[in-house]
Symmetry: C2
Subunit: 361 residues, 2 copies
DNA sequence: AATCGGCCCCAAAGCGGTTTGGATAGGGAA
DNA sequence: TTCCCTATCCAAACCGCTTTGGGGCCGATT
């Protein structure tokens, strides 16, 4: 006893065998007592749990994982190409939501950021080496090869977003990006705007392509021709928003309104407008896609709230985690496909078009 | 052979025993061949590696972890209290840097976001259950209890930042926050500013306390009294920057310059200045602490580059990962303590004080 | 020819849990 | 009293890999 005590002090950790020995019980019984199996008497269970508490016994996770066949971890692979798109700001809020749910269910989150060319290999590795029990796929592109790969590998996964062009059925959670931007654009058209600039993310990304489609569809519905000069796509950064806005404001027929893909490039758009002495809302309207990021909220004290299509990426993270955990528990469940509608929140950044005359060149 | 083939197709994965059987070799030999042990002939090694390749064999990570006693993973625990401080923007860039290095060394990154009251338990759990081989401590506060805890648990760890008040020696990497802000403040004083506002993060965070100390020290050196009205601390968000700036601009003796803790609140400061029709650089000077965040770079096309103390948080992430991995390899190494100096980059956001008269009340 | 030392390879024992297939004892039914 | 059943516990197998401690085999040494 004393020997064990001091061994404990030295080792700092204790294993099941030692604990069982200490209690004069078998490992089986101790394990069952701790895991609330019924074939242990209440008296014994109590004794065991008390001892576990006193000696601060915690089962070795690695051994547990091997024995149970579960890793109790969920993988997030982030391609480094989409670092600017994903990693910053948006991704971290998503992760915050997801990990909340993971913690509740005892899951860990393993994040790999990986170079593009290694990406498929990384998925293979993660799945076949059984590092995780499930995977969340971020930033799907059109015809995303990761989806058939993961289906083939047979590991539960969930796509945050969707991938047009992928035939197979899979689980996903997406915001209706097309509809959101369609409504935003429509709204601007209703206000009389005819020169509406789209500051989009990279359009090989599925969400960006859908947003573009929504933009075009709204224009088409009102019979307004699309103008390539009014559509840009690129990294969703502040400087990119600025440059795009400058270019569109310098056109012969400048834009009178913007649809922006995120609050971050919108900061750049605002800066461009200020440079030209234009006022948001009255001179030029801006609608942005608002992911409800905590560090950069839309609105707040004294801030002009942007008219925005809003959908919380943190909530999405939470829900994605829930769905995936459920699928891990029962992989034969039919695929979950959730399409969220974004709110269109009216703010002070939009107003009727200043010069309604369509300026016949 | 044919039977094994089809079994492979069904299972999707193959284990060492099966591979060994297929090759008419023992598991020992196969394992040694794959892991480049010398006691295997080149011919055999070649055969084994080819077979492994052909059957796409990958060792089960869980079994490997149990057998080797290493998890090949590094833990990051982020207290949810500092979500706004850490998780967003800054944290994700740090992680991007770190995971680059992890990938090179075959380590995985496990991230836990956890409620404050559970934090210590989480560390205990992670360490004793051996989920990871090392831990990076984020957002140290003054007298941070995590440091003695982790020392006691005997798991290699590295603090990003430092913790004043902790006696024991430990490994850390920090930026000289005090010096950086001291220099920034000094610079503003040299330009003739006497009413300099400090928009700081929460000052129980160690880095924020040090920055305040640097601010105060610069004032003291020039004999300028500190004014509590000119010092705020809080979340490093846009709205907070705005509110702090507004309050300081509304004082009887308003500020003529700001020292800001991050690019994010600086966005709010800029907004406050615009509201009052004040121009950055000429009317009011701003120096900010720039973590070189990719989505919100300082400067860029057409952007006024802020005068800033700059230090890349992504580089810090990279270096932290390197140090920790080294410590994991050899835990008896003396503690590494790296203090980085931040650059003071001059930009367009600072200028001589507009009204040099100290306004004797 | 007998011994020795490398070189290759193998069987088996871990790693630290969970889970299977009994064994034992005590209580109730016949 | 005898028999059976249930409640409780245990020894051993197992998860899939690494690593220890040999054991042949072969050419070289004496």
């Amino acid at each position: 006893m004393v020997a064990l005590q001091s061994a404990l002090e030295i080792k700092g950790a204790m294993n099941l065998r030692e604990l069982a020995q200490l209690l004069n019980l078998s490992q089986t019984t101790v394990s069952r007592a701790l895991n609330d199996y019924p074939e242990v008497s209440e008296a014994t269970r109590k004794k065991v749990k008390e001892a576990a508490q006193r000696y601060d016994y915690r089962p070795n996770a690695r051994a547990q994982q091997l024995a149970t066949g579960r890793s109790m971890a969920i993988g997030h692979v982030i391609p480094s190409s989409s670092q600017h798109e994903m990693v910053n700001v948006v991704f971290s809020d998503f992760v915050a939501g997801a990990s909340e749910v993971y913690a509740q269910h005892g899951y860990d989150m393993v994040v790999s950021m990986v170079a593009d060319q290694d990406e498929m290999q990384t998925y293979r590795d993660i799945a076949q080496r059984q590092k995780v029990d499930g995977i969340i796929v971020h930033g799907p592109i059109q015809n995303d090869p990761r989806i058939p790969l993961l289906s083939e590998l047979g590991i539960p996964f969930l796509v945050h977003g969707r991938s047009t062009g992928v035939d197979a059925s899979y689980s996903w959670l997406d915001v209706n990006n097309r509809r959101a931007v369609e409504r935003a654009t429509s709204y601007l058209l209703d206000l009389g705007h005819r020169r509406i600039g789209l500051v989009n993310g990279f359009e090989h990304m599925d969400f960006a392509a859908r947003r573009r489609a929504g933009y075009l569809s709204a224009l088409a519905a009102k019979g307004v021709p699309a103008d390539p000069d009014l559509m840009t796509s690129g990294e969703m950064t502040e400087p990119n928003g600025y440059e795009a806005a400058c270019a569109m404001l310098d056109l012969d027929e400048p834009v009178t309104a913007f649809v922006s893909s995120s609050i971050v490039p919108t900061l750049g758009i605002r800066r461009a407008l200020e440079d030209q002495g234009l006022r948001i809302g009255s001179d030029v309207s801006v609608v942005c896609y608002d992911d409800a990021i905590s560090a950069l909220p839309n609105g707040g004290p004294g801030a002009p709230t942007y008219t925005a299509t809003r959908s919380s990426v943190r909530d999405a993270g939470r829900r994605c985690a829930e769905i995936l955990i459920e699928r891990i528990g029962n992989p034969t469940l039919p695929h979950v496909q959730e399409l969220w509608e974004a709110d269109l929140v009216l703010g002070g950044s939009t107003g009727v078009a200043a010069t309604p005359e369509p300026a016949d060149r």
